[in-house]
Structures are given as C-alpha cells and as structure tokens.
Subunit: 165 residues, 2 copies
C-alpha cells in the first residue's frame, strides 16, 4: 500500500509547473534544478503526463511544459492515475478488468471490503488539487524558518538511503 516515488515525482513536477502558471512554458531543466530530480527521468515522466493530457509541451529553445488546466481543477488522483495507472487495491476493481480473470469473483468474501477501500482512497486523493498543494507549500515555506529553530533532532546516526531528496 505504497505510493510510488514516480507518483511523488510527478506530483512535484506538477506543482512546479503550477507555480509558473501563465509565465510561459517551464523547461525540465528548471524543474530538475528546483526539485533535484534527474532530468532524464523527468523526461519520461513528462511524456506520461503529456499523454495523459495533464500538460502540454513546446519544443525548441524556449520550450518546456505547461499545465493544460487550472491547477485547482487537477486533482492528485488525476496525476497519480496517469503516472501509476488506475489506483485500486485489487485488479478486479479496475475498469479495464476483464471479467473472468479471477475465478473467485462472485464468491469473494473480501471484495466489498476492497470496494470500500478504493472509494475511500479515491475520495481523499480527488479532494486535494495541485493548486492546493502549491498554496500549502508556500504557507509551509513562510513558517519553516521558525519551525526549524525549535526542533533539533537529526541525531539519526545511520539514515536509510532515500531516493533523490
């Protein structure tokens, strides 16, 4: 039950694009710099987002990507779906599920449970938009310096490696 890093990256790229909304396209090089994500990986990601209709691209020198819709109308679920495929706890609840693939259907005691779970997840992820994330983030940024002074853990002697910041 984890959200892939790819989805995270996608979200971060989207918020970055949302931030530059209206000011012409943003190049992946800029996104890469801002979010410390590898350019070549962003390329793949951006391609998916484009095919998913969430962003559009301009090639050439001052090219880059921009959102196709208002950030407040793009839900996190939209992004995750495009990047990870449909978000569902079990395959038999996906729309593209071929009936008959699971022999237990009709006899499955837990399907109703997964249905509830899927609905619940969908609800949460569709309520928050990219616009919300950007707004929250600038808020966090504002208060970050204050918060930073109070806390002083960071004792962890042996931090687990985590992908790209």
């Amino acid at each position: 039950m984890r959200v892939s890093s790819k989805a995270h990256y996608g979200l971060r790229m989207m918020t970055e694009l949302a931030r530059g909304c209206g000011k012409g396209p943003i190049s992946l090089a800029e996104v890469s710099r801002a979010e410390h994500l590898p350019l070549s990986y962003l390329e793949q990601l951006a391609a998916q987002l484009r095919r998913g209709g969430l962003v559009e691209s301009t090639r050439g020198v001052h090219g880059g990507y921009r959102l196709t819709r208002d950030p407040l109308t793009i839900s996190v679920l939209d992004v995750v779906r495009v990047v990870e495929g449909e978000v569902t706890p079990v395959e038999c609840l996906a729309q593209d599920y071929t009936p008959g693939s699971c022999i237990r259907e009709g006899d499955c005691a837990s399907q109703p449970l997964w249905q509830r779970l899927k609905r619940s997840i969908d609800a949460v992820l569709s309520q928050t938009t990219i616009g919300d994330l950007v707004a929250d983030h600038s808020l966090v940024q504002t208060f970050a310096p204050l918060a930073a002074e109070t806390g002083q853990r960071q004792a962890s002697p042996r931090r687990r490696e985590v992908a790209h910041v």
Copy 2:
C-alpha cells in the same frame, strides 16, 4: 496502491482458521486444500502470522494452527500489517521511520495529504474483522448458485494470468 497477494493469502488463511474456530487446530494441508494455495508458501505465511501473534501452532500429528483471539476482534488491518508490514502510503509516516531520512520533511507540501490518506485507509481496514469476512462469505455462498445461473459472460478470450485462483 495495491494490496499484495500475500496479504490476500493471509486473509484467506485467517478466514479459514476462523471457520474452524474451537474445533482444534487446522493443518496447513487443510487450508491448502480448501483455498487452493501452495502448502510451502502457506508455511512461510503462517510463520509470519504466528510471529505477529495472530495465530498459535501445535506441532506433531494432529497439529496445526488456531487463532489466538476471537475472529471478531481481529481486524483486516491487523492481518495486513503483520504480513505486509505497516500500511502507509509513504515511509515517512511509519512509526519506525527515522526522522531525518527524508530531507524534505518540514518542507513537504504533500505530507498532510498522505496523512489524511493513511488515516482513511486505516479506518476502512480496521473496521472490518476476520469474523465479518467469514459471515459475509457464508452469506455469499448461500446466494451464489442463484447468481451464477443469471450471468453468462466468461467470453474473455485471453484472460490475464492470475495467481492461484
């Protein structure tokens, strides 16, 4: 955002054990027969469930496994946790998370979102118990023959392979 088959299997084994509640231990051979799951794999799974304190075992000829608690007090979340580890959309929300592993903490725009998601998932999975699943299943069983006669899809010419029934 998928639930592993391992968790499924775990759930199925648990419901099977719940069904035989009170009638002495149930051997993995029986579970294997009833649920069409490979015995050797069940052994591993059962070991995890035992270490997680959800079942207890008796060795020897009439040995097997039994639940340690009333099925109605064992939530699906309990089982999934034991089998898959803590269920959380991102590592930074797990209890065993070492602060400092993620450099973005305190600056992360999406953490509140993941928090909401985690709470939501936890809620759904902790509401349903193994006992509920058993009850639902016997209900389904009762009506299954009727339902089976009406539907007649099964046209799917090229069904995707799905693990162990």
